[in-house]
Amino acid sequence: MAAFVSAAVFRACSRCGNLATAFAAPSVKHVSRKVQAGIYARLLSTSQNPLLQREPAGEAPVENNAEYPTDYEVSYSEFKYVEQVLPRPTVPEVPKHESYPTPSGWFPPNDELRSQKPYLVRRTKNHMLPVYSSLKRFYYGMNHLVSVKQIEGDIWVLESELRDFLKKKTGLSIRTQVHEVYKSIYIRGEHAALVAEFLLGCGM
């Protein structure tokens, strides 16, 4: 505890290395205001804390002789227009639609279908399938790569079923890679649309 307090103060004044002045830090001018404010925010106060025994000495007020117009009107009612333009911090839930797919072709996950499978592919925070296609450079050139992420459950069953599906659809040999720690499957080739079709068919 005590170590924490002194560390916080020392961080503020590490340049001059003067801990004695640092304990009176609020009045020390060479410690920037930003850092000074941080000291007070970070200190865990108890009654034994020496910093809180006295009030911080206020700095001398800056003389401002410039003639700036300071007349203004305050409006609280119009703040609602400000709220309209502020961003939402988190992604909202999807509203209920009358019929699916929605005009843009979006499906919600189908709980009945996907509960029959031993695996599950979660939706992303934006309510989309976590299927990403990319161009990746291998040692012999560029290759298309499809990655399926956020897989829960038995990842190996999904991998074999996906490979069979793609083989049947394309007639090509499909090369896949399973990463258990990242919970994802990588598929060589331009098969993002087919993979999405398979997952939507499974109700994911």
Binding site: A2, H30, S32, L44, T46, Q48, P87, V91, K125, V181
Partner: protein, 329 residues
Amino acid sequence: MALAKLIGSILKSVSHQHQSKIFLTTTVRLQQNAEFSDTQGPSEPAEDLETAFPALETPRMTSRTLRFPVDHTYPRLSWVESMDTYEGTKLGMIDLHPDVFAIYPRIDVLHKNVHWQKMYRHIDYNFEPSRAEMPGGGRKPWPQKGTGRARHGSCRSPLWIQGAKAHGPRGPKSYFYMLSRYDRALGLRAALSCKYAQNDLVIVDSFDIPTSEPEYLQELTDVRFWGYSVLFVDDTDVMPENIAVSVSQIRGFNILPAYGLNVFSMLKHETLVLTLAALERIEGKLLDEVHTTHRQEKFVNTLRPEDFRKHPKQDTTMLKSFSAPIGNN
């Protein structure tokens, strides 16, 4: 000690029993657990439980609504304890969000976080002068030809003993870098998941302890098997006086506000003790981070050299030009 054993057996059984998503009252849940624990080992029957725990008659927590619910797994459960006595009372059982307390234990992300926390503040002060900065060495030691010795131009050449170092360290060198915002949040979630999985996470209602003497807290942690080092986390900046005083006197114990929680401290301490308010804050913040609409941007440091300058910067050129007497020649 029999009490502690019983709690331990119940805790064990709780970790196996998770299928019920419906919020039961604690009594029902305790009875179920007691029945379940009968199969594992001898313990008291369920009816005697209420008499064994007189404190259970106090009002207790049974449920907690989780934001962003998930369906691929179940919410984790944890006791809420109190710290007013050595053994404490079980005030209830609450749900923890599986996206924060039961994600895949990404040891590699923990390593990344700890490495980042060590390196971003590290400055290498090692410094070796170059051959130009070393004293002497301007003279040619002996003539180029005719002496029969190897040709040399300076006695500070890297080939010479007491010469300079060719590519030496040129400190101070900063090792600052920023881990991505996603990895930082993921590291916190992984650390909390590891703590929960290894039964090192304790949730208490508040840090109110009856005395400020460190012996009380020491005895409390011994009775509850919290280990040698404990990290207490609360939501406020101003901690209760008793715990702040006793924690400051015990080596290995530390207390942090919720915004100071970090991976390094969590892994350094054996047990993590959260208050309910801190739990709400940490879980809420991490869930917000998972579902944020914020676009990740490149990190820009807003602190400038002026913020760390010792004295206000002086305009030396102006001083020089006007301090000398003018028009003497």
